[in-house]
Amino acid sequence: MSYQADFLRALYRKMVTIRKFEEKIGELFLGGELPGFVHLYIGEEAIASGICSNLTDEDYITSTHRGHGHCIAKGANIKPMMAEIFGKKTGYCKGKGGSMHIADFSIGMLGANGVVGGGYTLAVGAALAAKMKKTRQVAVCFFGDGASNRGTFHEAINMAAAWKLPVIFLCENNQWASTTPYRTTTAVENIADRAVGYGIPSNIVNGNDVFAVYEAAKVAIERAREGGGPTLIEAKTYRIKGHFVGDPEMYRTKAEVQERFEKDDPLKNFVSDVLAKGWLKKAELDQIETKITEEVDAAVDSARKDPYPDDNELYSDLYVESEVNLRA
């Protein structure tokens, strides 16, 4: 396998942007600057980045409560993201959504979701629309190991399988659902094993290896575009950060996590891979990283300065004017 340098740079940019963005968010939250809750994607960057590198702006994704990484990987702009997390008027959702509800419809990012398992059926619907319109678009539904126990998982995958819809179900198995370890709530070793029950293909990949994710997604997405129906992909990873920023993490030791992260950091994995293979140079990577750090800082600066929504924004966006009403 070999990749174009441009492609690799873009991939690195995605992953580093997620990492830097999330580190900054964690810092800001602990500093008391951010309202709401935030859930960080640090340590899982390879998954969203690997998947979304196969998608165009026409394709759809649905996301989760841990959605910043999906947004960035799908191509969202970090300025309105940051502004949204600050609750500012200039945010993607004009400050109405916040961290758990960022969407960017212009790039097919159909939204983070505060309801665990709320995204499956939306992705199925988007895929159904694509199939009806014959557009060759696909939809990717990101979900966690915890979310895999919601009934929506079952209804959505069954429907997608029965109708051969172009949707990829992408399980980010980070071993934890909040404070609850994966194997205490699920009797099966791999979520991917569930594909058998729907007659669809599945794949288990190392979620900390962006190339592995990219290649698996490529096959599944190609298949979906060609009318071959859904695939269930399970990306094995580990939740490096607390469930949310501020989580006391009484349920595991810091050492355990630190060791895991040092041994298997998707970003480090990428860097050592591309350097070892001579695909990119250290200097390039550093340059990218520096630039992104600046971008993130700039996003914070402007978000800080941006105004909060005006009071009269409270009632807007609840209903849109409809054609029929205008005519009535």
Binding site: V124, G151, E155, D317, Y319, E321, V324, R327
Partner: protein, 324 residues
């Protein structure tokens, strides 16, 4: 005017809208092969193909969720709930997704989705197949809720609902499907959010909707015989409620009775009564009466089921009580 059934009226609405806009499609259980339990989808697959009239798995959560997703991706889905009683199965999708997405995402999208839900009591269908649950949805910002009482409204409101860019719940009473009534030729929409004064009157205002409108009109006839002139308002839309029409009627009649088949406690009648008690109390010459089902699940036995349904005589008595 020509007469067709309520069911046929909804079919015309579907046909015309599916013809007009190829983004409109419908999905639900047993709607293609069977044509719907009440014949309300009959013939549509023949006209539009099973790609646009889709039999689904028994997965109400996915049906509604996929409707939402398809709406976000540019389609105009109509989803069928089979029985309104099953809306609990997909309540999260209605409450937390359908109703909130547009607002939560700062108006980035529209949600042109219609959920059709046959409701109400028929023939001892018992506790899990007889409910009228519209009141829940009054309390959920972001939804619109319509509920026709007759054939013409069935058509006009369904067409309006399908053309809305906001999510609309369309409740259709099971006992109405076979009823015949006049429907104008050609296309027409009935505006969402406007109540209809079904009968003008001056002594008392009776507000109702859906099947109970028929009881209300019966009662109004009987009352006319006693010299009481009742104004009968058909809400047509439950959310948003047409306060203006209600208030001007109450300003005129000074007496108000609200009638619905749903459980009285916490029903739509409560909201209307409260609106009037808040903004129009000085106009009132009598207590505001509500008629609705007693506070029990709907029992199976015909001898008990009969007791939870409101009849015209009960409405007459309620009016008499506040008109003496």
């Amino acid at each position: 005017m020509r007469e067709i059934t309520f069911s046929e009226a909804t079919l015309e609405a579907m046909s015309e809208e599916m013809q007009r806009d190829e983004k409109v499609f419908v999905m639900g259980e047993d709607i293609a092969r069977q044509g719907g339990i009440f014949g309300q989808f009959k013939g549509l697959p023949q006209k539009f193909g099973v790609e646009r009239v889709i039999d689904t798995p028994i997965s109400e959560t996915a049906i509604v969720g996929a409707g939402i997703g398809a709406a976000l991706a540019g389609m105009r889905p109509v989803v069928d709930m089979h029985f309104a009683d099953f809306v609990g199965v997909c309540m999260d999708e209605v409450l937390n997704q359908m109703a909130k997405i547009c607002y939560m995402f700062g108006g980035q999208c529209t949600m042109p989705l219609v959920m059709r839900a046959p409701d109400g009591i028929i023939r001892s269908a018992a506790a899990q197949h007889s409910q009228s649950l519209e009141a829940f949805f009054l309390h959920i910002p972001g939804l619109k809720v319509v509920i026709p009482s007759n054939t013409a409204d069935a058509k006009g409101l369904l067409k309006a609902a399908i053309r809305e860019d906001n999510p609309v719940l369309y409740f259709e009473h099971k006992a109405l499907f076979p009823l015949k009534g006049p429907v104008p030729e050609g296309e027409f929409c009935i505006p969402i959010g406007k109540a209809n004064i079904a009968k003008e009157g001056k002594d008392v205002t009776i507000i109702s909707y859906s099947l109970m409108m028929h009881r209300a009109l019966e009662a109004a006839d009987k009352l006319a015989g006693q010299g009481i002139s009742a104004e009968v308002i058909d809400l047509r839309t439950i959310s948003p409620i047409d306060k203006e029409t209600i208030f001007s009627s109450v300003a005129k009649t000074k007496r108000l009775v609200i009638v619905h088949e749903a459980v009285k406690t916490g029903g739509v009648g409560a909201e209307i009564s409260a609106l009037v008690a808040e903004e129009m109390i000085d106009y009132l010459d009598a207590p505001i009466k509500r008629l609705g089902a007693p506070f029990v699940p709907i029992p199976f036995s015909p001898s008990l089921e009969r007791l939870v349904k409101i009849n015209a005589d009960q409405i007459v008595s309620a009016v008499e009580e506040i008109c003496k």
